[in-house]
């Protein structure tokens, strides 16, 4: 049996695969800013489902809310920087460079959260970085 965190992580990857595909289809038709607007509208129904699942108890921890909102703002600002880079730079360079962001997360998690990864996972991380650079080319 796969551990629960892994099942969730794989389901996340699956949905993001579809998200990436739709983003690709959309990018051929509309501009990044237009896409981002529709994208933001699309978030609303999922957010509503979450509110219902929480029985409207949406703010049980101030700190959790603070980090989450900040996270959303950072993520959206990151997208704008990415689109900005895409506009003035070559996609064949911008895409692989920006795809390396998980390397920074790993670094921060090891330093700040004191997480530890085993040797096999460390090798996996190196291969993962290589593969996402290649796939973003």
């Amino acid at each position: 049996m796969l551990p629960k965190w892994l099942v969730y992580a794989l389901l996340s990857t699956l949905w993001w695969g579809v998200f990436g595909f739709l983003g690709k289809v959309g990018a051929d038709r509309i501009s990044p800013a237009q896409m981002q607007i529709f994208f933001t509208i699309g978030m609303v129904p999922v957010a509503i489902v979450c509110v219902l699942r929480l029985h409207f108890k949406i703010a049980t921890s101030k700190r959790g809310v603070f980090y989450s909102v900040g996270m959303g703002i950072f993520a959206a600002l990151g997208s704008l920087a990415f689109f900005g880079a895409m506009k003035i730079g070559r996609a064949s360079l911008v895409a692989p460079v920006t795809s390396l962001y998980p390397a920074l997360t790993v670094l921060l998690a090891l330093i700040i959260l004191k997480e530890k990864v085993n040797k096999v996972q460390a090798l996996g991380l190196v291969l993962a970085m290589g593969s996402i650079v290649i796939l973003s080319l």
């Binding site: 996340s12 993001w16 579809v18 950072f74 390396l100 390397a103 996996g124 593969s131």
Partner: protein, 148 residues
Amino acid sequence: MSQWVLLSLLAVVLWGIVGLLQKVTTNYITADAVLLWDRVGYLCLLPWLVATASLSHLGPRDFLIGTLDGITNSLGAWFLYASLRSGAKASIAVPLTSLYPLLTVLMAMGFLGEKVRPLQWFGIALALVAGVLMSLETPAASQTESGP
């Protein structure tokens, strides 16, 4: 340094920090609450976006593709938060889920008839191996058993 490099690095820094915050915030609230509030963060930028982009000449198909993109992104995010809340490490779950372009490439091949170049096949194979290796968590390391 050229401007595209600066902007690209800015994206890397912002997204890299997001990966860390994803783990930190799931220590405090459930996946449902994290998703809700991080989407509020996105919404904060909506007025600026609306001011810069016109939607007047776009059709229902564009709307459908764009909103479905937002829905699938949110579902993916929810499952990542659920994974982190179930004890996944940020240093594993974030890079593991970032392998999603593997599926995007395969879907583009299946549905759009895009040809996969030899280098991309190599990338796909590499991503699969990397995914399996990263999944091999040492049992003692997954600590918390709280609900998503």
